[in-house]
């Protein structure tokens, strides 16, 4: 699947996460901002990359603004952003 337009999902409210995704040419770039970045930054990034891989995304720029979201919420928001970006799941 290909990212063909900029898209976002989620909110900046507590327990949620705001995810932005846009097309890129040279692989994946994932940037994380999180209230728990020190403890969970690596886990958040690996989860984002896993959802992108599950959806066959090889090229994209992803920005994640986390407000303490659980993993199931993070996965949902990344998947929604991917679907909104023009690709089909």
């Amino acid at each position: 699947m290909k990212i063909i337009r900029q898209a976002s999902a989620g909110t900046m409210e507590s327990s949620d996460v705001y995810v932005e995704i846009e097309p890129a040419a040279n692989g994946l770039s994932v940037r994380i901002e999180s209230v728990v970045e020190k403890q969970f930054g690596e886990k958040i990034e690996s989860t984002v990359r896993e959802v992108l891989a599950d959806n066959g995304i090889d090229n994209a720029e992803v920005r994640v603004f986390d407000r303490g979201a659980l993993e199931c919420v993070l996965r949902a928001r990344v998947e929604t952003a991917v679907l909104r970006s023009g690709g089909e799941a």
Binding site: A9, S15, D16, A69, C72, R75, R77
Partner: protein
């Protein structure tokens, strides 16, 4: 056993992640009124993940969008693989609304290799047409497990003001209870929407129980405990139920056709009610007290 059914907005992680800790017998993940059209896609994925990844020690019900929208099929495509206990189907006016959804559910279940018919449907009756067709809706499909009264939309439809006292929905309440019982399914009362009226919810829940409702919905976790209390049998009711069963068994042994208990005849309806009370008490872990023996 469902005494309390708590609505949770489908696109609000802060509420969803607490679903299992709010004390209700069932949670209703809402993909309909609580979610704006632009967020329907996000909500159904979030609700699916909540059901998939979180351990919830309560029944899971999902309110999908109504059949007159373009959302309901995608809702079912996403949600059915997680096997919710019930689908709450809004704005049901005709039995054919239920059959349309039941048919699509079967199609999805067969396509995904899921058990056909496992997930039930609870029609939400919230229009004048739905009230008048309540029995045909309740008996339309073996998937229908209960009726659910939605008073906010109903009062708008019948063009009257919604009040705390609820006189304007008396007919709908009794009509739904009778229709549901005639069809052999459960029936749930509309939420009490003033979340700050702690006395009002008690009165409203007691009224619903007295009319024959199985349980009651809530839009606030604050109302769950009250609803659970009201719809649980009291110790006096449990005591009476055991005494009634004992009395009827004694009568049978003595070859008597009828017997009285505390001045009242014990007959088949009283025995049936006593059996339901004892079954519910056992399910709730409510033992007969020593004083009751």
């Amino acid at each position: 056993m469902r005494r309390s059914l708590l609505f949770l907005p489908g696109n609000n992680p802060n509420m969803l992640i607490n679903a299992g800790y709010l004390g209700s017998d069932a949670v209703i993940f809402d993909l309909e009124d609580a979610v704006s059209p632009a967020e329907k896609d996000a909500a159904r994925i979030l609700v699916r993940n909540t059901m998939k990844y979180m351990e919830l020690d309560c029944e899971k019900i999902v309110r999908i969008n109504s059949v007159d929208t373009s959302f309901w099929q995608a809702d079912l495509d996403t949600i059915l693989p997680q096997c919710p206990d019930l689908i709450l189907l809004p704005k049901v006016g005709l039995a054919s609304d239920v059959l349309t959804v039941a048919s699509y559910m079967e199609e999805v279940e067969r396509k995904l290799g899921l058990e056909v018919g496992k997930v039930g449907i609870m029609p939400l009756i919230e229009t004048a047409l739905g009230v008048e067709n309540a029995f045909s809706i309740a008996s339309s499909s073996p998937r229908v497990k209960a009726l659910f009264l939605g008073a906010e939309d109903l009062t708008a439809d019948i063009q009257c003001k919604r009040t705390k006292e609820g006189r304007e929905i008396e007919y709908a309440r009794t009509r739904l209870v009778v229709a549901a019982r005639a069809a052999g399914v459960d029936v749930y009362d509309t939420p009490f929407t003033d979340v700050n009226d702690d006395e009002g919810i008690v009165v409203d829940a007691q009224l619903a129980k007295s009319l024959g409702f199985t349980g009651k919905a809530s839009i606030s976790p604050r109302h769950v405990e009250v609803i659970n209390d009201v719809f649980s049998p009291t110790l006096a009711e449990i005591e009476y139920a055991y005494d009634a069963i004992e009395a009827i068994e004694t009568a049978k042994k003595q070859g008597k056709g009828a017997i009285s208990l505390r001045g009242k005849m014990i007959d088949a309806p009283i025995v049936a009610r006593a059996e339901r009370t004892i079954a519910m008490a056992k399910a709730l872990g409510m033992e007969r007290s020593e004083d009751c023996e």
